[in-house]
């Protein structure tokens, strides 16, 4: 028992290690809390208002089931990797005489602890619903029990399939995992395309759970079959989990322990902003994105050195995932903006919102550049290359990416909606021009010996703040166009000084960057 307790305490301490070691991790936690608490309050109040106004049970069972199943499938697909263990576990625990079952139980308890800590916005969400709707003790117990049971259900299934995958290592178990994932998502896809079946008509675990939860909140009578169904699913998952534990026990008894099957993965603690963690993540990104990015490669033929260096930056951005992040950012932003617009009249505002966030893109790109390239600067510095070539290549690439991706999106949306996009294009162009130069300047400023240890995320905040300040005249131009309704000629006339202003800022900071580049020291 004491080994189990020590192991559990050790794993929790390692998991939360980042929180104890860095102030910037605490800053990230503060952002997490400040970011999620308003959402929790907002979402819970929306649910409370919906329930008070009377909800259509079928629609909401479908909706919540989709969310639950997407989460389930996301976690389930991790089982395809087999049973995994952190590198530190392989080095410290697996080399000591710890019984695999003790290790597995300690892992289970650690995961529960970790999830419980980081799901705290969900507690607030639940508490507001329970208090606002004045739920009875029985209904509250029913809601909480159901949520706990479904969490354990997902955990048991995922862990069991991982163990089976590692133990059997054949295509059948992988096919089963994919099949289960497809079955779980099928109603969601069908619902989106034809809107006929939906989860509410099928006895899926998610359907039963969401129906119990919603009925309990609503105060509607519960069908005992629902409770029986949830308990059955939970029991089956528990039996499967215990059976898989037996496999581990059997393997242990027969001197072939589970440790042999566990694939090592690097530990990335939540809110860990250290360079080590960022490097691990970048390594994972490169492994993944280089399969796609290998179609763009560096070749010897480039005649201009500047173009060659720009191409090298593009290769990096494709292979380390930077380019994908920008694409994902704009796709998500478009979806959110598109879904949240109330009428056709809101279209100019939609385009404004889409271009408003353009200043974030150079910050995202620069953050990745710092992580990937900071330790590689010795190559150009010792090569006798004028560092201005490098800084220009970075800035040109960032301006091109920061402008092209949103501009294409804005042009498509404008053509579809028959709307003139000049204001948004100017805003996007200015944001990328100003943002790129300021972000690079900030990065160079933090390359100095005393500031090199500053976490990347802090540097991004400084750069975003500076960019936001200097882009504000461009925002004023854009908002004036929207609210004062200038005609196209005046918009174009005002666009010229706006762009000139952006280029002027770019030039001022380029000069500062060049001066900084001459004095870079890498210890």
């Amino acid at each position: 028992m004491s080994i189990f307790r020590d192991l559990y305490m050790f794993k929790v301490k390692v998991f939360l290690g980042a929180l104890r070691s860095s102030k910037s991790s605490l800053l990230l936690i503060a952002i997490y809390v400040l970011g999620l608490l308003p959402s929790s309050v907002g979402m819970s109040l929306t649910v409370v208002n919906l329930v008070k106004g009377g909800i259509d049970l079928t629609t909401y069972v479908d909706l919540f089931s989709i969310i639950l199943n997407v989460i389930f499938v996301f976690l389930l697909l991790f089982s395809l990797r087999g049973y995994v263990a952190y590198e530190y576990e392989q080095n410290v625990i697996f080399t000591s005489p710890v019984d695999p079952r003790t290790y597995l139980l300690a892992s289970l308890l650690t995961d529960i602890t970790a999830i419980s800590i980081f799901l705290f916005p969900a507690y607030l969400f639940l508490i507001i619903i329970i208090v606002s709707l004045q739920l009875s003790v029985l209904s509250t117990a029913m809601v909480v029990t159901c949520l706990i049971l479904v969490s354990f259900f997902i955990y048991f299934i995922k862990t069991s399939l991982s163990i089976l995958e590692s133990h059997l290592q054949n295509i059948i178990i992988r096919a089963i995992i994919v099949l289960v994932a497809a079955l779980l998502l099928f109603p969601a896809v069908e619902y989106a395309l034809q809107h006929q079946i939906g989860y509410s008509k099928l006895p899926y675990p998610s359907t039963l759970v969401t129906e119990i939860v919603l009925r309990s909140i609503q105060g509607s009578p519960l069908n005992p079959m629902l409770i029986f169904g949830v308990l059955t699913y939970f029991s089956l998952s528990l039996i499967l989990f215990l059976h898989c534990s037996k496999i581990i026990l059997f393997l242990h008894c027969s001197k072939i322990d589970i440790y042999r099957y566990a694939k090592p993965i690097p530990l990335v603690s939540p809110f860990d902003t250290s360079m080590r963690t960022q490097t691990i993540k970048t390594g994972q990104n490169i492994r993944f994105f280089s399969k796609v990015g290998s179609y763009i490669s560096l070749n010897i033929e480039s005649k201009s050195l500047q173009i060659f260096l720009i191409k090298k930056e593009i290769v990096r951005m494709t292979r380390d995932g930077s380019f994908f992040i920008v694409l994902l950012f704009y796709v998500l932003l478009s979806i959110i903006s598109f879904l949240s617009r109330s009428s056709e009249a809101a279209f100019p505002m939609l385009l404004f919102l889409l271009s408003f966030y353009a200043f974030l893109v150079p910050a995202m790109l620069m953050s990745n550049w710092r992580i990937v390239e900071q330790d590689l600067l010795w190559i150009p510095i010792t090569a006798g290359l004028d560092f201005v070539f490098i800084t220009k290549a970075i800035m040109y690439t960032f301006v091109i990416t920061g402008f092209t991706v949103p501009a294409i999106l804005i042009l498509i949306l404008s053509v579809v909606n028959n709307f003139e996009p000049i204001t948004s294009l100017v805003l996007v162009a200015s944001s990328s021009i100003i943002g790129s130069s300021i972000n690079l300047y900030t990065a160079m400023e933090f390359l100095s010996k005393k500031r090199r240890a500053t976490p990347s995320i802090m540097i991004s905040y400084v750069a975003m703040f500076l960019s936001g300040l200097l882009i504000s005249p461009v925002y004023i131009y854009a908002l004036a166009n929207i609210f004062l309704g200038f005609d196209i000629l005046i918009r174009i006339v005002f666009a010229v000084p706006t762009l000139v202003y952006s280029v002027a800022i770019y030039r001022v900071f380029s000069k500062k960057i060049e001066r900084k580049a001459l004095n870079i020291e890498l210890s």
Binding site: L305, K312, I379, I381, T382
Partner: protein, 251 residues
């Protein structure tokens, strides 16, 4: 004989800590020169100042008569450098890194092609030509870095602990390259704490201790200087000389 590298009264400190205290060095063309010293003696700082990664507080450096403060780019083009803990762009393939290294040193395309083929063969990296650096072992990364440092055929090759992490076959290839460079009247300047390596590979060594050059010369000269006898190894010479310096400081 003209010196390819000359350091005169070089000083460097990090905050309160003095890393180099008036270091003087002269390295000649066509030799393999070793910089040896205990941990914290200032070897890496010295190398980083020579290649332009650090700035010295005081003193002067010349490579082939070129002053880096006046002609920094011409100066650096004479040098090839491999650091101790090599970080390379994981997202590039071995071939792409060599292209990048050649391009930023303005090596003509035709020459670059030939040198890439040649060094991939010498370092036994031909099969890894299209492999991402991320997927290479530590030894292979070291060999790739070495090929990258040689791609512009520098007059002065500077290496910080060059043989660490390289397999015996790789070490043999590196030694052959060093010897070939010496035949071509080029210079290899390496720092190492592995005294047997320095003894086997270098024509001359400089022993630095606490940021100062304690002694420079070939093994015979150093034996005489340290009065350790004709059969003394470099390790014995080194221990004697650094011990003496320590004693002098105490007195």
């Amino acid at each position: 004989m003209p010196a390819i590298l000359q350091l005169v009264d070089v000083w460097k400190s990090y905050d309160e800590v003095k890393a180099l205290c008036g270091l003087n060095l002269e390295v000649f063309r066509g030799e393999i020169f070793g910089l040896v010293g205990p941990n914290g003696a200032g070897k890496t700082t010295c190398l980083k100042i020579i290649v332009g990664l650090l700035k010295m507080d005081k003193g002067s450096i010349m490579v082939n008569g070129i002053d880096p403060t006046i002609h920094p780019y011409e100066y650096k083009r004479l040098i090839g450098y491999v650091p101790e803990s090599v970080s390379l762009p994981d997202y590039l393939t071995v071939e792409e890194l060599l292209i990048y290294s050649g391009k930023i040193r303005k090596v003509p395309n035709e020459v670059l092609k030939q040198r890439i083929d040649s060094y991939l063969k010498i370092f036994d990296l031909e099969e890894k030509r299209k492999t991402l650096i991320l997927q290479l072992s530590r030894g292979m990364k070291q060999k790739t870095a070495m090929a990258s440092a040689l791609i512009h055929d520098p007059d002065l090759l500077i290496l910080d602990e060059p043989l660490i992490g390289i397999d015996p076959a790789g070490q043999h290839a590196i030694k052959q390259i060093f010897n070939k460079r010496v035949e071509e009247n080029k210079t290899v300047f390496l720092s190492t704490h592995m005294l047997d390596t320095a003894e086997r590979m270098c024509n001359r060594v400089a022993i630095i201790h606490k940021g100062k050059n304690v002694a420079t010369g070939d093994l015979r000269h150093l034996r005489r200087l340290s009065e350790t006898g004709e059969d003394a190894t470099l390790e014995e010479v080194f221990l004697k000389l650094t011990e003496e310096t320590r004693m002098e400081k105490k007195e």
